[in-house]
């Protein structure tokens, strides 16, 4: 595989860009693998990459029913941040933010990580108290976060309306400067390329229909559209369909799948320098390098696998955007779409071992999985390789729903997760 560097760019430019090697081959399944990963999104491909690179396991297949990166990896609003309330969440998401910093260099693939900062606006006294608590909790853990006055918010992000007579006036904001955005497709492609280079098979358009178990209960392999594939270990990372895949192995999960929507505006010149979130009115927004405003909406209230979502949510989101940024209220929206998120009752993920031997799960990322891609993948790879929890993913067990030791970020991070 050709590495991306200045010399190769020049060489290929001179030959009309006709001699680039393929990024990853079109693989067909072998009869047996050391590890099969179900779901070729950023998390699954990343786990394969780290298994190959850091744990020396290269006999791996990543299997997806669609194309790689075609699920929630390519449907999110690309926001990356780690300003969570609880120590466990901060450790997990900050590990991810640490990995994001050099991911392009690590993968030799430009994931366009831009730490442009994430500003969370406070509109009520409760918001102010809650966000200041977040700032203090973060700083105790060495996680970047600081408090801004309304004037400082306006200075940091000029389109924000801080007029005191607004329906929901801005009373301040919490700013994480290390937060930012990345190009979501590139993350899947970069991990896929890096994994394939190390011998991982990426098998697309091949649904995993069931997980098969040995008579002793341990994992035997997976039944797919292309027949049975034997596997010593299976890791499931299939976002909205995790509960369906895991049910075939007899593992019940505390998940509910709901569509989460996003939309983009027509492209405009650079106006929006950072990510802004407002939990109180429920808006979040950033501007892509193409110039489109990328706007996140909410999940439908009901379980659904329709990858589109309900229109009332879009109306609600646009109302919120117009409230916080009146400058945008005449803009036209180009398109909207939905992705199916798997939500846990405490809105924290489940990463690690399951009651079935040699079966691992990476699920419950709900509406906030993209930011965690490198961290989730990195710690999942550790758990699969060593058959034990990584110190960072150890609290995120399935067993916490039996013991009651929940990581209740539902209340902590409010709605824009």
């Amino acid at each position: 595989m050709t590495r991306f560097n200045a010399l190769n760019l020049v060489k290929n430019a001179l030959t009309g860009h006709k001699n680039w090697t393929e990024q990853w081959p079109e693989s067909q399944p072998k009869a047996e693998y050391d590890v099969v990963i179900v779901g070729a999104g950023g998390h699954g491909l990343g786990a394969a990459y780290y298994l190959a690179k850091e744990h020396g396991i290269t006999n791996i297949a990543v299997i997806d029913k669609g194309w790689l990166g075609g699920g929630n990896t390519g449907r999110n609003t690309t926001i990356i941040r780690s300003n969570y309330l609880y120590d466990e969440s901060q450790a997990l998401f900050n590990h991810s933010v640490d990995l994001w910093q050099n991911l392009s260099q690590e993968l030799n693939y430009n994931v366009m990580y831009s730490n442009r900062g994430c500003l969370m606006l406070a509109h009520t006294v409760h918001d102010v108290q809650s966000f200041k608590r977040h700032v203090h909790a973060n700083r105790l853990n060495g996680v970047d976060n600081r408090w801004l006055t309304p004037e400082e918010c306006k200075e940091y992000c000029p389109p924000v309306n801080i007029a005191p007579d607004a329906r929901y006036p801005v009373m301040g904001g919490a700013l994480q400067e290390r937060a930012g955005t990345a190009r979501h497709d590139a993350v899947a492609w970069g991990y896929a390329r890096g994994a394939a280079e190390r011998g991982v098979d990426i098998i697309q358009n091949c649904a995993v229909n069931a997980i098969r178990r040995n008579p002793d209960g341990s994992v035997a392999g997976v039944d797919t559209d292309k027949g049975f594939i034997k596997a010593k270990k299976v890791a499931v990372s299939a976002s909205g369909h995790n509960s369906m895949v895991m049910e075939t192995a007899g593992v019940r999960l505390p998940l509910e799948s709901m569509p989460l929507q996003a939309l983009v505006s027509e492209p405009i010149k650079p106006i929006f320098p950072c990510v802004v979130m407002s939990n109180a009115v429920h808006a979040y927004c950033s501007q892509s390098d193409k110039g489109e405003l990328v706007i996140g909406s909410g999940t439908d209230q009901y379980v659904s696998y329709s990858q589109r979502g309900g229109l009332p949510l879009i109306e609600h989101t646009i109302a919120a955007i117009s409230e916080v940024f009146p400058i945008f209220n005449r803009m036209r929206m180009l398109r909207k779409w939905g992705g199916i998120t798997d939500n846990t009752p405490d809105r924290s993920p489940i990463v690690g071992k399951t009651p079935v031997q040699n079966l691992y799960v990476n699920c419950g990322w709900g509406t906030g999985g993209f930011k965690a891609t490198p961290g989730a993948a990195h710690t999942l790879a550790w758990t699969v390789a060593k058959d034990e929890p990584h110190p960072i993913n150890a609290p995120f067990t399935l067993d916490r729903f039996r013991t009651g030791r929940l990581i209740d970020e539902a209340a902590a991070a409010a709605v824009a997760h």
């Binding site: 019940r252 509910e256 659904s304 309900g310 039996r402």
Partner: protein
């Protein structure tokens, strides 16, 4: 906009009038003190998360305020039927057959 039929009001109204209230026909434990942790986890947290016909509860919050049950297809979001709380779970095969007519 999804239209939902309230079995108490007898009217079909936009989804904005209603609040989803989770999976239906989950019974509270008869003797809570004798429940094991596993049974509590099952009751509180584990859900079917069905892809297809799903039995679920709704509440007509901006109307009569009452809870009722519904069968909805989670792939198409189409409602097959709604029925009053306390009524038995309708037979799915019959419902789907009627819907196909």
């Amino acid at each position: 906009m999804i239209q939902i039929h309230c079995p108490y009001c007898g009217e079909t109204l936009p989804e904005l009038e209603f609040a989803y209230a989770g999976e239906a026909h989950i019974d509270r434990p008869v003797s809570p003190t004798e429940q094991t942790d596993e049974e509590w986890a099952e009751f509180l947290f584990m859900r079917q998360n069905v892809k297809g016909p799903h039995f679920e509860r709704w509440r007509h919050v901006h109307g009569c305020g009452r809870f009722f049950n519904a069968v909805r297809n989670t792939i198409t979001d189409r409602f097959y039927t709604t029925y009053k709380a306390g009524e038995p779970r309708p037979d799915l095969a019959t419902l789907l057959e009627e819907d196909n007519k």
